[in-house]
Amino acid sequence: MVGSPRPGDRRPLSDSPRATTADPPLDEAYDARLVERVRNGEVEAYGELVGRHMRRAFAIAFRILEHREDAEDVVQDAFIRALERIDTLARGRAFHPWLYRIVVNRALNVRRSRSICRTERIPPGTPATVVSPDRSAERAELRRRLKAALDGLPDRQRTIVQLTELEGFSAAEAAEILGISSATARWHLHQARRTLRKALETLKEEE
């Protein structure tokens, strides 16, 4: 279950003003009833669970893959995988972090398998390759390089950043989705922020 919020944790996605989806508000008790119906053989109840979580699941998959069709495929695979293993979901445990963990794992597998060539690390002090007099072009270059720095993070750090900074999950929720302790998630988040902040400062100095 999601731990109590700590300083530095953000509001859960359902309350987040930056939530990118239009899924219904999270209601763990209602989800639990649906899960029980699915366990009793009511596949139709699963349709409701799909409807309640597919947008957030898609948003998470898309953050990792940045490809719409791949993200849709991952969402479908993850829901089927979750259905096949729904009997293994411990009673009293929330459905959505469990589902999102499947989504994250499958999306990371797809990402690794297609060997995205976006893992370049930016050595400190490397000058920008393109220096444009146009301010917007400079901003675009800065963001491109910041994005490259994000993509260059280790999988776990990058995923935590995507879940927290981009999708609005708290560090505790991200920890639950990734199956790690809250403290470990916060440590990874801290490391990732430090790396990205350093990259951002370097890039801004170059501007």
Partner: protein
């Protein structure tokens, strides 16, 4: 690492830049109805419905009882098939042996040894029969 550090301005700045640098999920481009149908089609293909479960449970129940019964029946049939030729042979032998039993053989079997010489003496059948029936153990 200060775990209790509140988000500072540089965190907000970083977040803003990351959001600007990362493509937003195109949630308005996705056909959600179609995606849901895709998921549910696959779900129906993989997970039995309640009706299917009931049907399956009936089959499973029958299987639980039927498999041991069928196994026993098969074992019995095999044993019967294996044992049948042997017993048939034994019965046949006994029957063919019975077919060759003569009245003399029966008399020999039923008659005390002392009367045997009489049986082998080439006597007439009636006399032989009478001698056998009336024999009281005394020497003739």
């Amino acid at each position: 690492m200060n775990r209790n550090r509140a988000p500072d301005r540089s965190d907000d700045d970083l977040r803003r830049e990351l959001l600007a640098a990362s493509p937003a999920p195109p949630i308005h481009e996705v056909d959600w109805k179609r995606l849901r149908e895709r998921v549910m089609r696959a779900a129906h293909a993989r997970r039995p419905t309640r009706h299917d479960v009931a049907w399956f449970e009936v089959i499973a129940g029958w299987s639980a009882r039927g498999v041991p019964i069928a196994a026993t029946a098969v074992a019995a049939a095999v044993l019967t098939l294996v044992a049948l030729p042997a017993s048939s042979r034994a019965i046949g032998d006994a029957a063919s042996a019975e077919e060759h039993v003569t009245i003399e053989d029966e008399l020999i079997a039923a008659t005390p040894a002392a009367a045997h010489p009489l049986l082998y003496a080439g006597a007439e059948p009636d006399a032989l029969l009478e001698a056998a029936l009336l024999y009281d153990g005394a020497e003739p």
